[in-house]
């Protein structure tokens, strides 16, 4: 695996750890964390702090006792489904991380993509609360139309890579764009680039055509 250069900031991870993000962001960050030892360490440190913040709380008054709660313990549980394992995508030639695999129902190769342009396709994965997560497929050498955001955009590179300004982003990198100035990621020439992205506000495209398309594609 190539070295990961771009990581989420400390404060982005802290917000993840403290539970302040919607599912779309959590999905993108958890996918990065599943391949990034450096960020996992930061998260461990932050969770330790969280444990201490909890320890230092002034106890509030509970409505029931431990025995009351144990009497409820026999009630049937709604189990949270377990993530599927990771699988190799034959069609796109990369390992689909386990947590993401659950959000494509274990069938990345069977995803239905919408064409945003001849060189850009997207698949919307989840719209939960305000945030949405989506996969973008970019043809080698082609660019996503210039866009800006009023909110935070988190993008995890799953396969291939792109350039944005002076920076290169490749597999495993997490690109955090919270600037208001428009940017235009351009896929590297050697292979298509596939990314997982979350935003909390619609992207603002500069061209007239993409803006007209926007309502249809939930981006």
């Amino acid at each position: 695996m190539t070295k990961i250069i771009h990581h989420p900031s400390d404060e982005t991870l802290l917000r993840y750890v403290s539970g302040g993000y919607d599912t779309g962001y959590n999905l993108v960050l958890a996918t990065h964390l599943s391949v990034c030892a450096k960020c996992q360490k930061t998260v461990e440190l932050q969770q330790l702090i969280g444990g201490h913040v909890l320890e230092e709380e002034k106890p509030a008054n509970m409505n029931i006792s431990a025995s009351d709660l144990l009497r409820k313990a026999d009630m049937p549980v709604v189990e949270t489904p377990k993530p599927l394992g990771s699988t190799y995508s034959k069609k796109y030639g990369f390992e689909v991380p386990a947590i993401l695999n659950s959000y494509v129902d274990g069938d990345f190769d069977g995803l239905k993509w919408q064409s945003l342009s001849p060189s850009i396709k997207q698949a919307v994965l989840t719209v939960d609360g305000k945030a949405s997560a989506r996969l973008l497929w970019m043809k080698p050498g082609h660019a996503v139309p210039a866009h800006g955001h009023s909110g935070e955009e988190l993008t995890m590179i799953l396969s291939g890579g792109y350039y944005d300004g002076d920076e290169a982003y490749t597999k495993g990198d997490l690109h955090c764009a919270d600037h208001e100035s428009p940017h235009m990621p351009t896929a590297m020439e050697d292979q298509p680039c596939i990314v997982l992205a979350a935003t909390d506000s619609p992207l603002v495209f500069r061209g007239i055509i993409p803006r007209l398309l926007q309502p249809f594609f939930k981006i």
Partner: protein, 225 residues
């Protein structure tokens, strides 16, 4: 100054803290808390895992449930929602005690992460798995061999000492980050400082803590280095 004394708004309704019953409970708690170290909590969780020890559960419940509830109240949840999350969190401690690994985390850290997930689950509409880095079934990397595992409770103690040495302003934003929903913007507004200052205090605080305690690669293999 204790961590929980950091609060820029009101901690919770006074009624949550005012009753005689509560004061009595809190006293008992403090006595209990003072006599228990992180290792003791770990033994209690193991007692639940190995023999469904109800007394062990009661001790854990009495200590942690009121704190989870208080934490959630300070995060802005209603008393009902905070109570529910505290109950669900402790229910998970009872049911999933065997998943606790004392080599990996302090009990307070484990319970913190359970409560965090319960809070997210309460507000999300998705039925798919929570994207949670602590979920072992989604981790890509294998745990290191047990001999390599760090004593995480030692790290927790070290962290506590390290936190005490942090400048107040850095400690304050770190702690507040845990109880705000949109932490950095809200903290900036309430402390009346620029967003950039909040971010830089978080970075400075964390890097100081990193320097002071070493978290060894317990879960991770060095494949990315």
């Amino acid at each position: 100054m204790t961590l929980s004394s950091y609060s820029i708004t009101h901690d919770a309704e006074p009624s949550q803290y005012g009753s005689a019953e509560h004061v009595r409970k809190q006293k008992n708690d403090n006595v209990e808390g003072a006599s228990r170290s992180g290792a003791d909590w770990a033994l209690l969780v193991c007692a639940i895992a190995s023999k469904s020890d109800a007394n062990a559960f009661k001790s854990l419940f009495n200590h942690f449930a009121p704190r989870v509830k208080s934490f959630m109240l300070r995060s802005g949840l209603s008393p009902d929602a905070a109570e529910e999350i505290a109950q669900e969190t402790l229910m998970t401690v009872w049911r999933k005690a065997e998943q606790y690994n004392s080599d990996m985390a302090a009990v307070s850290t484990w319970i913190f992460t359970i409560a965090r997930n319960k809070k997210i689950d309460k507000f999300r509409k998705d039925s798919r798995p929570l994207p949670d880095v602590n979920d072992p079934s989604f981790a890509m990397v294998e745990a290191a061999c047990p001999e390599d595992a760090t004593d995480q409770s030692l790290n927790a103690d070290k962290l506590y000492e390290a936190l005490e040495t942090l400048p107040e302003d850095q400690k304050q934003v770190l702690v507040l980050s845990f109880i705000k929903d949109n932490p950095h913007r809200e903290i900036a507004e309430q402390l009346d400082i620029p967003l950039g200052t909040v971010k830089s205090r978080i970075r400075l605080g964390l890097s100081r803590l990193r320097d002071r305690i070493e978290i060894e690669d317990t879960k991770l293999i060095g494949q990315l280095k």
